[in-house]
């Protein structure tokens, strides 16, 4: 029975596997968080290469790179799915969420450490299935899923007779299961394992952001799972949920998809909002302005975000009453979002701000997400969306909020927490260079896309009428600059690990007031064996 009551001396070997078992059989939130971050970097590189292929093709009118447009559609589909499910979510939720939530609430680990591990390992399996889908038949005679990340029926059913869509559906099932299990883990952890004295209203805003995000996932992913299962049975087992010839309705799929799809975009940005709150407070050396307003603004965004999905469907032939409701509900979200933007600025106001790399990314996000957000207000109005739907104006909107919002948040969090996670300091000049090159690059890619969208250029086209050429050329140049920025990032990470400049427990000074900064950098394998007490 002595093994069940391991002594303190034996602690080193008990609960601390080594070698490959440390990661494949992990029950440690920090190691799992690291695996998610590495995976997100891989996902970002693959998704980024796909986007380079897209921009290379769109640099000039005509088909130069892709000999047929189906392959181009496969690239756009894979780019979207990979960036959403295998870059942003693993980085913000699996990566920074897993790493920092237990540290910030004074918990030794997540509530279900082993289930945490399967949440991670489901993702490489999911990505593998998606990659396989690119090499089996989709549309007749051509490999891969060319139906967009939205995989609308009937293009994804009768339009893709080969098995590619089935592989994509199974891939999404695994990714969805990964997130649902993760949601259970995060909710239980945050509700039950806060250190004594840390009430919900005392926990850091980053933890609030993770709580809201995983609730959204818990509520929306099962609907996606249902919808794509119905797609699978329509494709393989003779059902006709989405087939008009069997009494079904293609629009039903759109409702099921977007009931998930809209909350999903808040899943992608809210954790970034949480990280930004921590970073802005740290580098302004002031507490966040209006803590309760910030916390409940995120709750409001999440709740309202669950009831606006059909603003993606204004052109399906919806009644004017339904469109009017979705216009009003969608515009409502602008209010809590504005509260957050102004609260961050008010946090900085009166502060003593050091513009270190994480703060650069944070300030960039605040401005650029505002630009993306206001084009969202434009699109919320069905009357205007009539013109803008499926044009590059929409592409510009969601890339401003995602590539310039969520991704800037990822890099802000990366530079902020890298010293804590690795124990090494990054070099400030590389971080700043990475920021500026990326800032210029992504703005060059996506701002001109507003122009071609207003001029009427549709989305998801491999070739375009000649008069769209000018701004498309600029956009493509921007993508090469952004790619260079990504190389700078990788260079900086490599250098940090080679130089091994040790990071202090708290490299950021008095502004960093959350619990992770009281721990060593990196933290010990097990922390808080004695729980901290919060006043």
């Amino acid at each position: 029975m002595t093994t069940a009551h391991a002594t303190h001396d034996a602690h080193e070997t008990h609960g601390h596997p080594t070698g490959w078992r440390r990661f494949v059989y992990s029950t440690n939130h920090k190691d799992i968080g690291t695996m998610y971050l590495v995976f997100a970097i891989v996902g970002g590189l693959v998704g980024g290469l796909l986007s380079l292929g897209i921009r290379l093709e769109l640099q000039q009118p005509g088909l130069q790179i892709f000999h047929d447009a189906h392959a181009f559609n496969v690239f756009t589909t894979a780019h979207g799915l990979i960036m959403v499910f295998f870059m942003i979510m693993p980085a913000l939720i699996g990566g920074f969420g897993n790493w920092m939530v237990p540290l910030m609430i004074g918990a030794p680990d997540m509530a279900f450490p082993r289930m945490n591990n399967i949440s991670f390992w489901l993702l490489p399996a999911s990505l593998t299935l998606l990659v396989i889908s690119m090499f089996v038949e989709g549309e007749p005679g051509a490999p891969g899923v060319g139906a967009g990340w939205t995989v609308y029926a009937p293009l994804s059913t009768s339009g893709h007779p080969g098995p590619a869509v089935d592989f994509a559906i199974l891939s999404l099932h695994l990714a969805g299961a990964s997130s649902i299990l993760g949601a259970i883990n995060f909710i239980t952890t945050i509700f039950n394992m806060r250190a004594p004295g840390m009430t919900l209203h005392k926990m850091p805003l980053f933890v609030w952001s993770q709580l809201v995000t995983v609730f959204l996932l818990l509520l929306s992913l099962p609907v996606l799972a249902g919808g794509i299962t119905m797609l699978l049975t329509d494709r393989n087992f003779g059902t006709t949920f989405f087939a008009a010839e069997g009494g079904g309705d293609p629009v039903l799929f759109q409702h099921l998809f977007w009931f998930f799809g809209h909350p999903e975009v808040y899943v992608l940005i809210i954790p970034a909002f949480g990280a930004i709150s921590q970073i802005v407070a740290t580098f302004s050396r002031k507490p966040v302005f209006g803590y309760l307003g910030m916390a409940y603004a995120m709750v409001a965004i999440g709740v309202v975000g669950l009831i606006v999905w059909a603003h993606h469907m204004y052109t399906v032939g919806m009644s004017s009453a339904a469109q009017a409701y979705f216009i009003a509900a969608t515009m409502v979200i602008a209010v809590p979002t504005g509260v957050k933007i102004f609260s961050w600025i008010a946090t900085m106001w009166g502060g003593s701000i050091e513009f270190r790399t994480p703060m650069l990314w944070a300030v960039g996000l605040i401005f650029l997400f505002t630009v993306g957000g206001v084009t969202g207000v434009v699109l919320a109005n069905a009357g205007i969306d009539r013109y803008m739907h499926e044009t590059y104006y929409v592409v510009a909107h969601f890339h401003y909020t995602m590539s310039l919002g969520a991704t800037f948040g990822i890099f802000a969090a990366w530079y902020y927490w890298f010293p804590k996670m690795s124990g090494y300091m990054y070099e400030e000049w590389i971080g700043k260079l990475h920021f500026w090159v990326t800032f210029i690059g992504v703005n060059l890619v996506f701002f001109p896309q507003h122009f071609v969208g207003l001029a009427g250029m549709p989305r998801r086209i491999a070739d375009y009428p000649d008069n769209f050429a000018g701004w498309n050329y600029i956009s493509s140049i921007g993508s090469y600059i952004s790619a260079f920025g990504a190389l700078i990032f990788l260079f900086g990470v490599t250098r940090a690990f080679l130089r091994k400049e040790k990071a202090a427990n708290n490299p950021w000074g008095v502004g960093a007031t959350t619990l992770e900064w009281t721990l060593p950098s990196p933290p010990p394998f097990h922390q808080y064996e004695v729980l901290p007490r919060i006043k």
Binding site: A69, S158, G290, T315, V335, G351, A382, I384, R386, D463
Partner: protein
């Protein structure tokens, strides 16, 4: 056919061709995008007039908001950087500010909502129609039916690069923009309310003409309806606006708006040209094979 009938056929075809060839082509900016364009396409319908006005109104508001946020950030970066302000305050609340930045956005949204709903109802409530055209989205072309004019139907396929070259040889002044020009255009009379009924034959497509402010999905099993009134003669292009497979980029929409007389002549000619069995649809006769 009698000699008289043949003569009538030739004369009406000649009249139609004469009128159509002297009619306006879509110069860049009207009915199609222009190089380096940064705004919306020029309006050719009252709905598009309203969309353009509403967008201009919104653009002022969102530009002001973005510049306001940028200005605040720049002020903060200059006034409150560590060198300029070594001692931070501990302010975390300011009730008046918090009320203002909640209430003022609500007011802005209300101000936006009023013209927004008006535009929505203008688009969705279809006025009494002068004629109806049915557009069927297929992989990868459009078919147009004219139920009010004898139910003739024809296919409208994108002109290939070779066809555009050939047309240029025949008429150097012909303007057939690549990826927009089609072989058989949808023809409608000017200043008439056209009800467009749209459906998909196989997968979801979408019928769109930016100059008219029109976009509606073409969904299998669902007959959607929209309308437009073209206020200016000319040719107006749109593109399929829902991903529909490999040639999604290559199934444009072209609407030629002509005078009432030209329209009547075209209808007479079309009835003959597109009488069943005579149109340009791929005549694929599918024989059922035992599996």
């Amino acid at each position: 056919m009698t000699m008289l009938a043949i003569f009538r056929l030739i004369a009406s075809t000649a009249i139609v061709l004469a009128i159509l060839s002297t009619g306006e082509t879509a110069c860049a900016g009207f009915g199609q995008p222009s190089p380096w364009q940064i705004g919306m396409q020029q309006s050719a319908s009252p709905v598009m007039d309203d969309i353009t006005r509403f967008h201009d109104f919104l653009l002022w508001i969102i530009a002001a908001i973005s510049i306001f946020v940028l200005a605040l950030l720049l002020i903060v970066m200059v006034r409150f950087n560590a060198k300029a302000n070594p001692t931070p305050t501990r302010t975390t609340h300011h009730t008046t500010l918090e009320v203002l930045w909640t209430v003022i956005p609500v007011l802005i949204l209300v101000v936006i909502a009023v013209p927004s709903f008006r535009l929505l109802f203008l688009q969705v409530n279809i006025p009494a129609a002068d004629l109806t055209v049915k557009a069927t989205g297929k992989q990868w072309y459009w078919s147009y039916t004219y139920p009010d004019h004898g139910k003739f139907e024809f296919d409208s396929l994108m002109m290939s690069d070779n066809e555009i070259k050939a047309a240029k040889v025949k008429d150097p002044k012909a303007d057939n923009p690549r990826l927009l020009a089609v072989d058989n255009e949808m023809v409608v009379p000017v200043n008439k309310v056209v009800r467009v009924q749209v459906i998909g034959a196989d997968v979801i497509h979408a019928f769109a003409v930016p100059s008219f402010g029109v976009k509606i999905d073409a969904i299998p099993g669902r007959l959607n309806e929209t309308w437009f009134k073209a206020t200016r003669e000319g040719v107006y292009y749109g593109q399929c606006s829902e991903l529909c497979g490999k040639d999604h980029a290559f199934m444009p929409i072209a609407v030629r708006v002509v005078s009432d007389q030209a329209f009547a002549a075209w209808v007479a000619d079309a009835k003959k040209k597109f009488a069943s069995g005579d149109d340009t649809a791929p005549a694929a006769v599918v024989t059922a094979k035992a599996e």
